[in-house]
Amino acid sequence: MMPHPPVYLIDDDSAVRDAVALLLATYGMRVESFAHPLDFLARQPELEPGCIVVDLRMPAITGLQLQQRLSEAGCGWPVILLTGHGDMQACRRAFKAGAVDFLGKPVDEHVLMEAVNTAFAALARYREQDEQRSLLARLTERERQVLVLVGQGYPTKEIAAALGLSPRTVETHRAHISEKIGSSSVVEFARLAQAAQAHP
């Protein structure tokens, strides 16, 4: 079984930070703790993708603002917000901004672990999409068009006719695509074609 991604725990209260980190560790999680959200933001680009557990109320920036900054920076890592209050307004904003969960303090271990596991699944999805996006980003516009049509199962002749190209040119594009994505399998083409249509 693949090791879990890390959990980044951000809370300015050392007692809470240590306790939650210990609890997560008993579940075999790799936990990295941060007392200050700005410390985390500074180090985030170099960190391994992981799940973020952050207190809503903190000095300097709140958990919500941290979440916003991450999404502004193009980081789609899942965020679990912890709060002492059932603050509905903050809760709604958190979900709108893509928070995975919003947990009230004190938090029960099962609730926390469920949220963390959900976050890991979200992270896995995100990473896959991220990978696809980076593969697609390597393709030219014409190659993307060819990829989509190949993925939909059209033969080369029909693709050539549809795009107003010679069948030979289409073959050349296919070869380039295979080279760039590291696969010539039609299944892989189809998966990427779906992703390309989902994120044009």
Binding site: A15, L22, L56, R57, T62, K105, P106
Partner: protein, 526 residues
């Protein structure tokens, strides 16, 4: 009030009476003038008759070449009998110019019995000056009422003159005059008085002034002046009824004025009472609102901060305990790790208990009592209670406590409330601003022989137009504020003989300064 109204009434009646009096006098004057005109008309008519008699007698005298003495005598007798005022009719002749006694003759003489015939000495001057055809009058004996009217006949006939002796007093009969009138007739030195029924009106001592109307009669030969005199009495003015009416009528508006004044006074009293009642209500409402807000602040706002504070140790406790349970089930667990976990739990449980202790101290419903107030400790407690709330709002709270910390004489819980409100107020001001690096400084020290608490921030400061009103209730410029926080602070500070001031320091932001009596001062005093 009553005296004023009475005076007003008297003034109104007096003023009205004066007008009525003047009107009455004018009416009497008009009557008098009318009566004078009538009398003058009568007299003028009679004087003209005299002229006419002379003319007819003269005509008779000149009808033939000789003097018709007998005829003239008859006519003269007829005239005299018809007109009692004409006491004598004479036809005289004389010689020389001026007339000489030698040639004096009386050709015709008709006289009232007892009256002396006209004699030359009295007539000589008038005869000499008389022009033929123009009658002239003369008064033979001054002081009497008699005059003579002389008409000289044309000189062609010779030196003749017709002489009428007339009594002024008979020119107008008393009955012809109004009852109130007394007529004086004057011709040169002759004069006469005629009164109705002969009785002259007596002047009343404090009566209205006498009034007179004079007429100069337009008769060349008999230049008689008339003077009609009226001595009016009060009854003539007929003022009693109109004045009585006025007095009665004047009572109506005065009565109304009294009524209005009484009603107005009652209304003012009622208004005053209502206003006092309203003020009392407002005050008690304010007190109630303050008490309520104080409870909201203490129990709600503070408790909300406390709840968050409690959540921290509880979170730590729960997670740690659950971790311990899991660790206990793991065979390879190091007992030292378990020990650390449990020690951390004990610490967190104590932390929670401390927080509850503090909360209990601030929200317990004991009556406020002045006592020694450790401002330094209260400041630290408040900072601890509000820390989470402030940090969530990205506000740093700095404590600046002098050593030794000041001891004030006040109620510690209420002083805590003042600090809490001031810090919250500063936090609200900061939250609304786009200020970077937001911070609040809570300073506690001594100044001017008082214990001083200063809460300052680096926010936008208090709006200049709000500055004089910040401590007034319901004056909040926060959209969701009740505007009571600072009002409560002020009332608490005043309760303990302190002062509170708001200012925008030159360095920016706002600063609220609370000065409270020092505990050692109070102890010295007592």
């Amino acid at each position: 009030m009553a005296a004023t109204l009475l005076a007003a009434w008297v003034a109104v009646v007096l003023a009205g009476s004066s007008v009525l009096y003047r009107q009455a006098l004018e009416r009497l004057r008009a009557e008098l003038e009318g009566a004078a005109d009538i009398a003058a008309g009568l007299v003028s008519q009679r004087l003209a008759q005299h002229d006419a008699h002379l003319t007819s007698l003269a005509a008779l005298a000149q009808r033939s070449d000789r003097i018709l003495v007998d005829e003239i005598g008859q006519v003269a007798g007829a005239i005299r009998s018809f007109y009692p005022r004409i006491e004598g009719v004479d036809l005289v002749a004389w010689e020389g110019d001026p007339p000489e006694p030698a040639g004096w003759r009386t050709l015709v003489s008709s006289h009232r019995a007892g009256l002396e015939p006209v004699a030359l000495p009295q007539l000589a001057p008038v005869l000499a000056s008389a022009q033929p055809g123009r009658p002239v009058s003369s008064v033979p004996r001054p002081g009497r009422s008699r005059y003579v009217l002389v008409k000289r006949l044309p000189s062609a006939v010779g030196r003749f003159a017709l002489v009428l002796t007339i009594d002024l007093a008979e020119l107008v009969a008393g009955e012809e005059l109004p009852a109130w009138g007394q007529l004086e007739l004057r011709l040169g030195p002759a004069s006469a008085r005629v009164g109705h029924g002969g009785a002259a009106a007596r002047a009343e001592r404090f009566g209205p002034p006498a009034m007179t109307a004079e007429r100069m009669l337009d008769n060349a030969g008999q230049p008689i002046s008339l003077r009609l005199v009226r001595q009016p009495g009060w009854s003539d003015l007929a003022l009693l009824r109109p004045v009585a009416l006025l007095a009665a009528v004047a009572l109506v508006p005065l009565g109304l004025a009294v009524l209005l004044a009484v009603q107005r006074r009652r209304a003012a009293q009622a208004r005053g009472e209502a206003e006092r009642a309203r003020q009392a209500t407002r005050l008690s409402e304010r007190e109630t609102a303050q008490a309520h807000a104080a409870r909201v602040n203490a129990m709600g706002e503070m408790a909300s901060g406390i709840a968050h504070e409690l959540n921290q140790p509880l979170t730590a406790l729960l997670s740690q305990s659950q971790a311990a349970v899991r660790l206990a089930g793991m065979p390879a667990t190091d007992p030292a790790v378990m020990r650390r976990v449990l020690e951390a739990n004990v610490q967190q449980a104590r932390r929670a208990a401390d927080i509850l202790d503090r909360m209990r101290a601030y929200v317990s419903a004991r009556p406020p009592a002045a006592g020694v107030c450790e401002l330094g400790r209260i400041a630290m407690d408040m900072a601890e209670l509000m820390r989470a709330d402030l940090s969530a709002r990205e506000i740093r709270l700095e404590l600046d406590i002098s050593t030794p910390p000041p001891l004030a004489w006040a109620d510690p819980v209420q002083v805590g409330q003042v600090m809490h409100n001031l810090i919250r107020n500063a936090a609200d001001a900061l939250a609304g601003s786009g200020q970077e690096n937001r911070h609040i400084v809570l300073r506690v020290d001594e100044a001017d022989d008082m214990a001083r608490i200063v809460v300052s921030d680096n926010g936008p400061g208090v709006a200049a137009d709000m500055l004089p009103h910040v401590f007034e209730p319901f004056r909040s410029d926060k959209p969701d504020g009740m505007g009571l926080g600072l009002a409560i602070c002020e009332s608490i500070v005043h309760r303990f003989d302190g002062r509170i001031e708001a200012a925008n320091p030159s360095g920016g932001g706002a600063a609220f300064t609370v000065l409270l009596p020092l505990a050692r001062r109070k102890e010295h005093a007592s």
